[in-house]
Each structure stands twice: as C-alpha cells, then as structure tokens.
C-alpha cells in the first residue's frame, strides 16, 4: 500500500494513486463474504451470522485469503438473511447459523455451490446463482443503491475502490458551480423526499439568494411508516450521501452542512458519524478539500421524533433547538431557512443521486425515465406481496411490473385490490390503473403521489374504508396541532370514518368528508394537513361502493369491519368435529356428532374464534 492510504489527500492525483493501489490489493485473490445486516436481515439474526463468518475467517488455515464484511441492505428482505460471495456474485438466501460452516467450507474455500441456499423462482422452480438471474433484481436499475450490499459502509476504502469519490474531484477541479447546477438541471433530477421539486432550481435559488452563511441540509428523517429507503442508503452507503452533499455545497456556496437523522435510526447515525470522520481524515471534508481551497463540514443531528419534523420548516426549527413545528412563511427557505439564512434542503436519496450524475453526466441520467420524471426511484415494497423489500426502478416502469415481476405478485394466490403509494398522505390506486407509470405527475393525477417511496400492496381481503381510516388516524396523531384545519378537521374526518367502520355511518357522510378534504387542502398550514385527505379522497374515488355498502347496507364487503359481517358454518364443508363448539366462549354454536354445526346469530359476539379454529375452513364470513 502507498503511504498515502489513510492520510489527508491533497489533490486529485494522490487520490487516484490511492485508488489504484486499493484496487491492486483487492484484486489479488481475496474472497469476500458480504453479510447483509440491513434492517430486514438484521431482524432475522444476520449480525450473528457475520460474527460467525468473522470467526471462521480467523480460524481458517487455508491459503485462500478471505474477508467477511457486513454490508447494507440488498433489497430482497423477504428472503433474508442474505449473503453474497465475491468473486462470483453468489447469492445465498435464508441463511441460518448452521449453514455458515458449510458455506465457508464449500463455497468460500472450494468454489462449490450450496444448492439448497440458492434462490428458487416459485413459478418455474429455476434456481438462480447470482442476483442478475433473480427476477426480483432483473427489472431493477440500481443507481442510488448501486453499491448497497457490496461495500462495507464502515470502510471508506471500499467506497473508494468501488469508484466512490470520483465525482467530487471532478466537480471541484474541472467544473464551476454553474456547470454543476447545469448538469443537475440537464439530468432533470427532482427531489426524492416527497414534493418532487426540481433539485437544480432549488440549488440555483439558494445560490443566488442574498445572505450568508448558506446552509445545506440532508433530510434523513424518514417518518413514513414502513419505509426504509433512506435508512438503507445511510446505513449501506453513507459516503455517497456525503459526497453528494459536498458537491452540492460547493455548487451552492455553503460551508456548513447538517444531516438530520430520524431519532429511531441509531445505526444510521453511527454509520454517518464514522463516514464523516473518515472523510475528514482523507480530506474529502474539512478545510481545503483535495487542495481546492473549498471548505465544508457536516454535522449530524438527531430528529425530534415526530413525523412532522421531516417537513422542511419544522426540520429547521428542530435543528435550531426549537419545537419541531412547521412555520407559516411565504418566504422560501432557500432565502430564509435555518437561522434565517439561505438553506437548501434535500432528501437522502436526492443527494445520493448527485455523484453518479456528475460522473456519468446529466444526459445519461435524463435518458432514464419519463419526460418529466428522470432517473430511478427507490421504493419499499411491502404488504400482501410475495417479495417484500427494497427496490430501485427506472421511472416510467408500470406499477404492474413492480408488483408482478419484481414483487412476484400478490401473496397466497389472492386477488390484487389496490396499491398505496406516497406514504401516509398518498393514495390508493386500483387494478384498472396498474398500467400507470411511476412518474411524479401521473401518480398525482391518479389521486396518489410519489411521496418518498412507500408502496403497499393490498389484496382482496383489505377493506378500503379501514385503510382510509388507518392513514387518517396516523396523520391525526402526527398532526402537530398548530393550525385549526389540520387539528380539528382531521379529528372530524376520523370521527366520521370511525362511525362508518362501526356501521353507524349516515347518508351524507361521504359528502361531508369531501367538504372537509377541500377545507384541509385549501387552508392547512403545511403539506401534512394539505395532503392529509388523499387517502380518503382516493378511496372514495375508486371504492365508493365499499363506502356505500358500509353506510347503506351496514356491510363490509372485505369482511374486515367487525359487526358488518356475520360468521356462518358451511353445512357441506363442516365435518362436525366440534372444535368450534368447544372453543366458542359464548356457547353460540350448536351441533352434534355427524350433524353440521350451526351458529346462533343472536348469541354470537363476532369474536371470530370459530373461524380461526376450524380445521376445515367451514366457518365463513358472509
């Protein structure tokens, strides 16, 4: 290794020397076992697997050089814990502790595949050796997640060897601020945090604003329930966020940055802290970065713990040490934001897209996607879908392809009903619009939105009124309560939805929900309130008949709302085993040996125990 490694680099040339060295060193036959310790895999014991591999490496007396790495999220969380072996890109899934020794002996040391741990296509039964052969990965296009699962997030050398920190010297030494902004503009990059605001336009406004100092902030508050796109990036490839921020700060003319990380993400904070420290040591942060005379520092702040803290003005208030509440201002934060100074706020994923844009050019990026939505978008695909996980797709891909090809379709052979996109204030899109493209404007037209990338698949058993109720309740609980329409209006909406799902709905309720929705949209102070009615509006738009069934017929078609359906025993399917009868806490079931059992509807309290217990699925919801 050169003596430069780990030292502060003074210029571009030194960096390239180091990179060459790292590559040489790495290509000399070392095998890597990459253990995914992303949120999904970690929950299934991946950290222990990593320790076991480290132990195996330590104890190995083979001549083969091996390193074990803990890496960020691979995406296919459904099949975790996931292990990738390099070279060869060998992908093992659902790895358990007893498999470690076998993997080490067979694959790592002897290049033999452990068939049993390979991914198998459920429809064709075909086994895949590497991610490229797995349908889940085939339709994806990874830019933001390019290095996720490949590099050790705690080791800057990994990032450099993989081609990281090439955009930064390029920007600092060969481009002016305006050229950088022009490149981002050409790329057509729009903010990934929810609003989809053109990034270059924001940067330019901030650059041109009077006032100094200027600040750049990375929004890592990620408050959407079930979402973990930004977390995966912060924990899987923190240097890409930092590199993006330094480039942005240089273009904007800022010397101080902040990363605001959700309070529930301690590992993200740790990874980012390590990364910032390393970047400073190597000279990618701090004074006179790579000898360019540009200086920039980043501080990390932990979030205020509320969903609304992700909103730009609330975030800045929280950073200033005040309560994280939105501020009513018609002056944009690029003019007067953090501490009243020009401030540019971007989402984690937005920042991560900057280095590849600088490296490969705006034109390349703009070649991916639709006319007004360029590049890729990371989604966290969850709900009633076969392959849950993190996916990065080119804009313009249809929802159907994401759900069927990547997601493997609806779970348990059930029928698809709707897909919810855009986080809690997004909307539900029904099957007739599954061929809609993932595009900021198209999703908005459908009454939903891109949001920050939540995608929840719902099957036929989902009651859409309950879905609306769930999100309304979430937003009502997360409303800061500062402004009247959001605080009082959401409480009124929730009150109506509660009545409807309890079977106490009235004619006119739907219209009343519409009136409240319009009021919220027009008068709420921040975007939380303004968009809070989307779940209700979109479900009324596409599933009005379900609302009507609840209100007019006191019936829940999906049979989820307790009291709005009955349990009955199918006489033909009933084997008269007596299990339901024995378990019914109300003695509401009668029957004898060889006589089909019957539920006494008068006595039944709809607890559902018979339905759960019947081994012959003879108890039906009607």
């Amino acid at each position: 290794m050169t003596k430069l490694c780990g030292k502060r680099l003074n210029n571009h040339e030194e960096l390239e020397l180091v990179r060459e060295d790292l590559l040489k060193h790495r290509n000399s036959g070392t095998k890597s076992v990459c253990v995914c310790v992303g949120p999904g895999c970690a929950a299934k014991g991946a950290n222990r697997l990593y320790e076991l591999f480290c132990e195996a490496v330590r104890q190995s007396d083979s001549k083969v050089k091996v390193e074990a790495k803990s890496v960020g999220c691979h995406g296919l969380c459904e099949c975790g814990p996931i292990i990738l072996i390099q070279p060869g890109d060998i992908f093992y899934q659902r790895v358990e502790e007893p498999d470690v020794a076998e993997i080490f002996r067979e694959t790592v040391l002897s290049d033999r595949i452990v068939e049993r741990l390979l991914h198998e296509d459920p429809s064709t039964g075909e086994k895949a050796r590497s991610p490229d052969e797995i349908p889940f990965y085939k339709a994806q296009n990874r830019i933001a997640l390019a290095y996720n699962g490949l590099i050790d997030p705690a080791n800057i050398e990994d990032y450099i060897a993989a081609g990281g920190y090439t955009a930064l010297p390029k920007a600092l030494t060969t481009m002016t601020s305006e050229e950088i902004i022009a490149e981002v503009e050409l790329a057509g990059l729009r903010g990934r945090g929810g609003g989809g605001f053109p990034t270059a336009r924001k940067w330019r406004s901030c650059r041109e604003s009077d006032g100094s100092p200027k600040y750049v902030i990375c929004n890592g508050d990620e408050g959407d329930p079930g979402a973990f796109m930004d977390r995966a990036i912060m924990e899987g490839n923190p240097h890409s966020v930092i590199e993006g921020m330094v480039i942005g700060a240089y273009a904007i003319g800022s010397s101080q940055g902040y990363i605001y990380v959700r309070n529930e993400y301690p590992l993200s904070v740790e990874r980012l802290k390590e990364a910032i420290e390393q970047a400073r040591q190597w000279g990618f942060l701090g004074e006179d970065i790579l000898g360019s005379s540009f200086s920039f520092n980043i501080r990390i702040n932990r979030g205020g713990g509320a969903f609304v803290c992700g909103e730009s003005t609330a975030l800045m208030a929280s950073l200033e040490g005040r309560t994280g509440e939105p501020r009513a201002k018609y002056v944009h934060t690029v003019e007067s934001g953090f501490r009243g100074k020009p401030t540019n706020l971007n989402n984690v994923e937005t920042w991560t897209n900057i280095p590849p844009i600088i490296n490969r050019g705006g034109e390349w990026f703009a070649g991916i996607g639709t006319e007004k939505s360029k590049g890729t978008k990371v989604f966290s695909l969850v709900g009633n879908v076969v392959n849950t996980g993190l996916v990065e797709v080119p804009m313009g891909i249809t929802l159907r392809r994401i759900i069927d090809e990547i997601g493997g379709g609806v779970r348990d052979g059930k029928r698809f009903k709707a897909v919810q996109t855009g986080g809690p204030s997004g909307g539900c899109i029904p099957s007739e619009h599954l061929d809609a493209r993932v595009d900021f404007d198209e999703l908005t037209k459908l009454g939903s939105m891109m949001g920050s990338g939540g995608m929840i698949v719902m099957d036929e058993g989902t009651c859409m009124v309950r879905v609306a109720r769930y999100f309304t309740e979430f937003l009502q609980k997360e409303s800061c309560g500062k402004c009247t329409p959001c605080r009082e209006g959401l409480a009124q909406m929730l009150h109506i939805l509660n009545r409807i799902t309890r079977g106490e709905g009235d004619v006119g309720d739907i219209e009343e929900l519409g009136v409240l929705a319009e009021l919220l949209e027009g008068t709420a102070l921040c975007a939380l309130g303004k968009t809070a009615a989307n779940p209700v509006l979109s479900t009324i738009r596409y599933f009005r008949d379900e609302y009507d069934a609840h209100i007019l017929d006191r019936h829940c078609p999906a049979k989820e709302c307790r009291g709005l359906f009955r349990y009955e025993i199918d006489a033909e399917a009933c084997k008269a085993c007596g299990i339901c009868l024995k378990n019914c806490p109300e003695d509401a079931i009668t029957g004898e040996k060889e006589v089909p059992h019957v539920i006494n509807q008068e006595k039944c309290t709809l607890c559902g125990i018979c339905w759960e217990k019947c081994p012959f699925t003879a108890v039906l919801k009607v």
């Binding site: 018609y330 002056v331 402004c483 009247t484 605080r487 009082e488 009124q492 009150h495 008068t523 102070l525």
Partner: protein
C-alpha cells in the same frame, strides 16, 4: 410603495406590508384570531384566509402574513375565500362552543352555528391561537406559558402543568386572549392574583391608602427596573391604586405653596 388590488379596490401600501395591512387600509374587514399587531405572526388559526390571484394561478393564503407584491390581486369576499373562512370557523365553534367572543365573531362572519360535533377537548374554550404564549415571551419576556402536547392533545400550559414561578401575574395573556379563556382572579384573603386556568399566582401590591389591589409586586418591580427610576417618590406613587394616586396628586397640588413667577 407597491399597489395592490383588494376586492377591486386599489391601495398603496408600505414595503413589507401584509395583505391584512392592505385590507385595513382599504377599509375591508378580514376576521382574525391569532393575529395581534404587538406580537409576531403565527398564521396558525387560519381564519383570515383570502383568495389570491397571481399570474395564472389562484390560491388561498392567510392575509396576516402574506407579503403584498405588485403582481397580486386579492379577493376577500370571493365564494372560495368565504367558504374557507367559514369552514375554519365552524371547526373552531365545534371545539369551543361556549365562547361568547367566538360566537360573536362567527356571527359577524355570517356563521350562525356549526354543523360539526364536538370531537376535541378544549380547556375552557381555548382555540390554541397562541397569542398568550407569544405575548408572554415577546413582550413580557417571561415565557411562563407555552404549548404542551401534540395534535388534539395540544394545550397551553405552564411547564409540567404546574403553577409557574416565571409568571409575574401581569395579566397580558388575559388581555390578548380572543375567546375569554384566560381570566384574572383576585384572591383578596391571600392578597394574590391568579392567572386562570394556569393556576399561577403572584403577590399583589395593595394600595396603601384604600387597600384595593394595584398590580402584582413583581410587575411593580419590573416597571421600576424598566423606567430606571428608583427614587422614594416614585416608589411611593406605585404603591397607590390609580384612584388614590389621582387624589393624592390633587391634594398635593392644592396644598402646594404657590410660587410666584420671577
């Protein structure tokens, strides 16, 4: 000096003026609740919504903090603006149905009643406009009260919902409260003033002459500090209620020896 059109009326206003300022100048009334000229603008009650036209878009904005610009046309009484304000008022009436002050404002806006049920709890009809919080912080400098809780649980309270030591019993919060939530209670026996519903109490200075409560002791001390006067005479005067002070002045005048002009 930008010129702005409000409901067809052209007015010239100062730089940095808001739509509300412009409307006042034009003699057009816009209801407000969380606005007070003495403190900063919060735009949280949303009762002052007006419709704004700028280029080819129309939007609802709050009049109290929207800065006037040359290129805007404001509609205070458009259908959409009125509907928005009335909608907000109906929500507030549902929250605070017993406030006479709120009902009076509603009536002035043409809202007879609310068709919403009461679904949120309010502490004695508090609508959470926050004027009390801002006046205590910005004008009095005490920050004795603040917001606590989030969403529908939001309330105005002293820290830990206990009587606050920072409260000097000045009563500024009660003065700005637009819905009659905050009241001053005089506890004669204990010689204390209580700021209700915050339960804070402050010792009262009683008039040396007639025994009527004057102000709280802390307020008198602060006033003394502010005017920078600490002579015996001033201290004497502060210890009298306004009525006795007048009487004393009159008596002093009457008994003073008449000096001839030199």
């Amino acid at each position: 000096m930008p010129t702005v059109t409000i409901d067809g009326c052209k007015v010239r206003v100062k730089k940095n003026a808001t739509v509300l300022d412009a409307a006042k100048k034009a003699g057009i009334w816009i209801p407000t609740l969380c606005y007070h000229p003495a403190v900063s603008c919060d735009a949280s009650c949303r009762i002052c919504m007006v419709e704004l036209e700028r280029g080819d878009w129309r939007q609802l904005v709050t009049a109290c903090n929207y800065p006037v610009r040359e290129d805007i046309v404001v509609y205070v009484s458009s259908e959409r603006a009125q509907q928005a304000r009335r909608g907000v008022m109906e929500l507030l009436l549902a929250r605070a149905p017993e406030s006479e002050e709120l009902k009076a404002l509603a009536e002035r806006m043409g809202v007879k009643e609310t068709h919403y049920p009461k679904v949120t709890e309010s502490q004695r009809n508090c609508i959470l406009c926050g004027l009390c919080v801002r006046v205590c912080e910005e004008i009095i400098g005490q920050s004795a009260i603040g917001f606590a809780g989030r969403g529908v649980d939001r309330t105005v309270a002293a820290p830990f919902r206990q009587p606050s030591d920072d409260c000097i019993g000045c009563g500024a919060c009660a003065v700005v409260c637009p819905v009659g939530t905050i009241k001053l209670r005089i506890h004669k026996d204990q010689q204390e003033v209580e700021i209700s519903p915050f339960k804070s109490r402050a010792k009262l200075l009683l008039c040396r002459q007639c025994g009527a409560p004057v102000v709280s002791v802390q307020v008198s001390e602060q006033v003394m500090g502010k005017v920078g006067l600490d002579c015996e005479e001033f201290r004497e005067r502060v210890r009298l209620c306004p009525k006795c002070r007048k009487l004393q002045s009159a008596a002093q005048l009457a008994s003073a020896p008449i000096r001839k002009k030199q």
